[in-house]
Amino acid sequence: MVAALLFGSASAADGDLDQLMTLLAQRQHGHVQFVEQEFLALLDHPLESSGEMRYDAPDRLEKRTLAPHEETLLLAGDVLTMERGKSHRVVDLQAYPQARALIESIRDTLAGDRAGLEKLFSVEFAGSLAKWTLNLTPKDVKVKRSVAQVRIDGAQDQVLRVEIRQADGDRSLMTLRASPAP
């Protein structure tokens, strides 16, 4: 009885997380505009960039920065392709756990892949399906040394805001809104 009372809320939250993931997983495509701000101790003003992001289930994520410079990041499977000006790099995410954590936090959320998220993070759900927050804390010690926490806010199956807090106090904030229908 006591146990049921104690764990009741936890299992309710657990149920909500499952519901959210199911909801997210139903979306096969996403196309949003983003604005990203980086607050770095080195700089006395934030760096701002903007562009668009596309998601195609199950594992393709493309982030195109249009301002202030054009840059494309394409994630397909574990392979990240970066293009900027003349430079073109292909990176295996497995070799870069920090970058992987940052990118997987967004992709797994979009995919509704709870198992994928929980492999890298301890996941904490707050709020309701109508207005939810996921707090993701890296499990890997090495990753923790650079990425402290990722916080994702959303409403229903829309991701609205991604905040990344780095261990050294720097942070970045990305706000998303649905692309105007083409």
Binding site: L42, L43, H45, L47, P68, D78, M82, D92
Partner: protein
């Protein structure tokens, strides 16, 4: 035994003893040089050195297939780790960042000497401002995590610039931390041996070490890992090919010579029914082989493996001498006594031998040491074998010795030939002309594709293996070096300067994507001149302070945080310039050394060119023109494949010319001896016809002719001339009585030749197959045509 015979025996034994000593003390070489020119041009010399000992020749390409991706990655990791501890390997790359730490420290510490962006302009207020704004922009990208920590010391982003400069060439995809093929079905790695590519023994050891390390890695699975037992290792590369080819040729040579010896010995035993005759019959060949090797050792200073391998087949003709001697002298024994073999048949055997010698002499002026050696070997071997048959065999033969009577065989053959022999001469001649015309037409219609002008045609490596190698090279990207710019000079500094000038001269072509990228040793170690200029371009401490203050206005960086930058620049200004020794201990050293070739004549820098897109041809004439416009006289463009193919094509056309000259010499010799144009025509026509028919047959089967087919054609003429001469002699000496024996001896000699060469065509080694599939049918046809075309050549005894 009379005095003359004793003298012959003593002379023979003395010769054999001397030859044996020479053979034992001779130097034997197994490298590629038999296929490479004797008097190379500087470009060819470079090509030869590249093929033999260049960095590319020391590469072993490694593929791990089977099992699953995780198991392959783990095996790749363990294998590479084991090989990196092995001093037999200079470098092992499998995509893992091993020496990254040391490399990064070196590059970072010397960034202001290494970066080609460093100049007084870049360190002016405007230049610094532009560079810093770029670096700050980078902070927003995923690479920003690294850039952020480096920014206080490297605000102009020199490290990233250097890394881009070094890694311009494409590298394979990485998955699970190791290189994989684009399809993801195999893990890839490259090992570079410490030993030279031409050192087959060392290459063989290195290959064994890789296999052992792989086996050990497979035996020690990690917890929870999927089974790695299904994983297989596949190796490729020049060293792997050379070792495999050597083993295969040795194995095939051993197996084939065993089989053919057994077959020939059985044949001869069946014919002679005498062990003594068999033993004696092999004396001329054995003596010929020994003297042949000794002659090559004396004439060339060293004997090529290829000479040992092929030589014995080239003098297979000498087995025929003893066959003629035994069988024909049996007839004489019954009639006039053994001594008259020398009178009746020796002139014919001698003439046959001399025509062969003429044929092989055409190999002597070749620019191809392998062919020269084969020529000398065959000439000395055949002369020796003939002399032993003439002078030594009669001396050793017991009195009243006789081999089994083979007259019935001769009669049987004559019976088969009988109907043809009684055809009208005109009909036979017409048929022969028709056949020759038909063969010529076939050859003419295949003219363009008749000769294979690529060096790879001689490669003892199967097409499947060559394809696998090409596949791995394409997947590994940068490893394939085909087009190079070569810069020569008297010392390291001069070639590094040349490399810098060349890259500068080609920058417009790089920008226009005519070339994808150029690797240069100067990226790893700039010339002293360039380093000096970069160091001189750095402002002094006070100046830099002022410039930096102006540069960061409005960027949002605090000046205080950039103090480490000021310190590092100052340290470079007062530090020493870099020399080749400073690269040691980093993996950059291997990259650097692989592009530097230091030879007796001087220094060469090799700058590999990469296409802008995979599979695209690089416009070399345009590059050469650009280099010429920049007055870079020390720079040359080298297309390795084209160079080696044109080298081989030169040999081929030279060999064709020489063979024709050899054929003309044979004709002249016959004319001088036989003193009748008609007789010469009758002797030569079956040989020409055989060569034409064999060549046409090969063309019909889409076999492209190589230099070894050409050697095969020479052999057809050499062996066939004996047959034709016997028929000629028979016609003119009116020796109907001995005809069945002559026919039998020719048939048996021919059978042993066809057996020997026929087996070669099943060896699975392209070069041996080329010899086998031209000589075996050619020799048979030469006998048949000789018999049919001889007027009254085969009548019943």
């Amino acid at each position: 035994m009379n005095g003359r015979r004793a003298g012959a025996l003593i002379a023979w034994l003395a010769c054999i003893a001397v030859a044996a000593i020479v053979v034992i003390r001779a130097r034997y070489i197994t490298d590629l040089s038999a296929f490479l020119p004797r008097n190379p041009t500087p470009t060819q010399q470079l090509l030869v050195d590249q093929l033999r000992d260049g960095p590319a020749s020391r590469l072993i390409l490694i593929a791990i297939e089977g099992a699953d991706a995780a198991a392959r990655a783990r095996l790749s990791h363990d294998l590479a780790a084991a090989l990196r501890r092995d001093p037999r390997f200079a470098r092992v790359d499998n995509g893992e960042p091993v020496s990254e730490q040391a490399d990064r420290e070196f590059l970072f510490k010397h960034r202001y000497l290494l970066s080609d962006a460093v100049s007084a302009q870049r360190f002016s207020p405007q230049g610094l401002h532009a560079a810093i704004v770029d670096t700050v922009d980078d902070l927003a990208s995923p690479a920003g995590l690294v850039a952020k920590s480096l920014l206080p010391r490297d605000p102009s982003g020199e490290l990233l610039h250097i890394i881009d400069q070094l890694s311009s060439s494409p590298s394979p995809e990485t998955r699970d931390g190791v290189w994989v093929s684009p399809a993801g079905n195999r893990a890839l790695a490259v090992a570079q041996t410490t030993a030279l590519g031409s050192d087959s023994d060392a290459q063989s050891e290195a290959i064994a070490a890789i296999r052992a390390a792989f086996a050990a890695a497979r035996q020690s699975p990690r917890d929870g890992e999927s089974p790695a037992n299904a994983a297989v290792l596949r190796l490729s590369g020049p060293g792997v090919f050379a070792v495999a080819a050597r083993a295969r040729i040795q194995k095939a040579a051993l197996r084939l010579s065993l089989i053919s010896s057994v077959l020939v010995v059985t044949l001869l035993l069946a014919v002679y029914r005498s062990l003594a005759a068999l033993g004696l019959g092999l004396l001329p060949v054995a003596s010929g082989a020994l003297v042949g090797i000794a002659a090559v050792a004396l004439g060339f200073g060293a004997v090529h493996g290829i000479t040992l391998g092929f030589g014995i087949t080239l003098i297979g003709e000498s087995v025929d001498y003893s066959i003629y001697f035994f069988i024909q002298s049996r007839h004489l024994l019954e009639n006039a006594g053994r001594d008259s073999w020398q009178q009746r048949w020796w002139p014919t055997v001698r003439l046959g031998m001399l025509t062969s010698v003429c044929g092989f002499a055409s190999l002597l002026p070749s620019g191809f040491p392998g062919l020269q050696q084969l020529g000398l070997y065959s000439i000395s071997g055949l002369i020796t074998a003939a002399l032993v048959t003439r002078f030594v065999l009669p001396a050793l033969l017991p009195r009243a010795f006789a081999v089994h009577d083979v007259t019935p065989i001769g009669n049987a053959i004559a019976a088969v030939l009988y109907p043809v022999a009684h055809l009208r001469r005109g009909a036979v001649t017409a048929a022969a002309l028709l056949l020759a015309l038909l063969a010529s037409l076939i050859l003419a219609s295949h003219h363009d594709l008749l000769w294979n002008r690529e060096l790879s045609a001689l490669s003892p490596v199967s097409l499947e293996e060559q394809n696998f190698d090409a596949e791995l090279r394409a997947e590994l990207g940068a490893a394939d070096v085909r087009d190079l710019i070569v810069i020569s000079g008297p010392d390291l500094e001069s070639i590094l300067r040349g490399a810098e000038s060349a890259v500068r001269a080609l920058q417009p072509l790089l920008d226009a994507k005519i070339i994808g990228s150029i690797d240069s040793p100067a990226n790893f170690l700039p010339s002293m001149a360039a380093q000096q200029a970069r160091r001189d371009g750095l402002p002094n401490a006070g100046q830099l302070r002022d410039n930096l203050r102006q540069a960061i206005a409005g960027v949002g960086l605090s000046f205080e945080r950039l103090q480490p930058f000021l310190e590092d620049v100052e340290a470079t200004r007062h530090g020493a310039l870099l020399g080749a020794t400073d690269l040691r201990g980093t993996s950059l050293n291997t990259g650097f050394e692989s592009m530097i070739l230091h030879q007796r004549q001087g220094w060469n820098a090799l700058l590999p060119l990469h296409a802008a897109q995979a599979g695209q041809e690089i416009d070399l004439p345009r590059i050469a023109a650009a280099l010429q416009r920049a007055h870079l006289d020390t720079a040359r463009v080298l297309d390795l494949k084209h160079e080696s193919d044109s080298l081989y094509a030169d040999y081929l056309s030279e060999a064709i010319r020489l063979s024709l000259a050899g054929f003309a010499a044979v004709a002249v010799l016959l004319l001088a001896t036989l003193r009748s144009a008609r007789r010469v025509m009758l002797v030569l026509s079956p040989l020409i016809l055989s060569v034409l028919v064999v060549a046409a047959g090969l063309a019909l089967f889409k076999v492209q002719l190589t230099i070894l087919h050409l050697v095969g054609m020479l052999l057809i003429v050499a062996v066939g001339s004996n047959y034709a001469l016997f028929f000629d002699r028979q016609r003119h000496a009116d020796e109907r009585d001995s005809q069945p024996l002559t026919l039998a001896s020719l048939a048996i000699a021919n059978a042993s030749t066809v057996i020997g060469f026929g087996l070669l065509s099943f060896s699975g080694i392209p070069v041996l197959e080329a010899l086998g599939c031209s000589v075996a049918p050619g020799a048979f046809l030469a006998l048949v045509f000789s018999a049919l075309l001889a007027p009254g050549g085969a009548t019943r005894a």
